[in-house]
Amino acid sequence: MTGLRDVWVYLSASPLLHLTMTLVAFQAGSWIYEKANRNPLLNPVLLSVIAVVTMLVITGTAYQDYFEGAQFVHFLLGPATVALAIPLYRQFDKVRGSALAILSSVLAGSLTAILTALAIGSLLGGSTDTLLSLAPKSVTAPVAMGISEQLGGLPSLTAVLVILTGIAGAMLGPVVLDMIGVKDWAARGLAMGTASHGIATARALQVNEVAGAFSGLAMGLNALATAILLPLIWNWFF
């Protein structure tokens, strides 16, 4: 028994344990997501975050100790954000013809996302750090976390809110678009990607390839638009 405890003490002090825990939880989450026919409610990130948090709470592990191991995964967020330029370029190349309509629509959507989140959040009494963590919710997680951190929000809360926004958009998007009678695949994809980044893009791709491409492009453009607009809006109004 002491032997086992010694091993546990040794392992929990090395990065290996929590790095492996992160990967195993994500693999398990992805497996469940695939088995459930990619149901947005069973998002693999959401499932693995719940699994890891549960394990840390049960074993009484502090987040800082967990992060010692998980930081190796976390570091790759930066390079991955830079690499988003490649899909952005590929899609931009495809739809160059309607560039002006696309840019204006994403810009309008980006403003709507920021302003409605801030307005409703503050009307309902959200605290400043909550509002800052919520405002970039429509942007792909690595960028949203960077924006939130830069303005004094909580990147980890932002990460979770971004995922929930993705799930909400993936589920509600098609219903809302049917209700307002927008049938054009380009407009549908653009709206999904602007509001709900990669999670909605994955959803759009399942339905229609054109919608998927526009959604991916919108996700990249909105990341840029929000990174520039949100700090300006925040400094003007608050």
């Binding site: 409605t116 750090d129 303005l151 990460a159 678009l177 509001a195």
Partner: protein
């Protein structure tokens, strides 16, 4: 492969330097993304190695935000205090964004066609 990874890291570093040095509110990696995008525009295409490296990095993009997402355990209290503002703002704002973007796009592409 190594070339592509180096270029990505150089772009990120340039972005971090610009963001920190010029006190820009935009995060370093986002500026890095713009730098790489401009590079691709100038070059006029994506090399095979760069395409493979980026696809590799991005194919498991969602794994990369698990460590940060787990940090939500530090903010249970905050969420408890703000759950109404957060959930209503999140849902309403997402729906509003979808409607505005879709209608704007339909209106503008209709104009272009006529």
């Amino acid at each position: 492969m190594l070339n592509a990874l180096t270029l990505i890291l150089v772009c990120q570093l340039a972005g971090e330097l610009a963001s920190g040095g010029l006190q820009l509110p935009v995060p370093g990696p986002v500026i890095g993304m713009v730098v790489l995008f401009i590079y691709l525009m100038v070059r006029g295409g994506v090399s095979q190695a760069m395409g493979r490296t980026a696809d590799g990095l991005l194919s498991h993009l969602s794994l990369l935000f698990v460590p940060a997402g787990v940090g939500v355990m530090l903010h249970f209290r905050l969420l408890e205090d703000n759950w109404l503002a957060v959930s209503v703002a999140l849902l309403a704002s997402t729906v509003a964004t979808i409607i505005v973007t879709a209608l704007m796009m339909r209106w503008l592409s209709g104009k272009q066609a006529s």
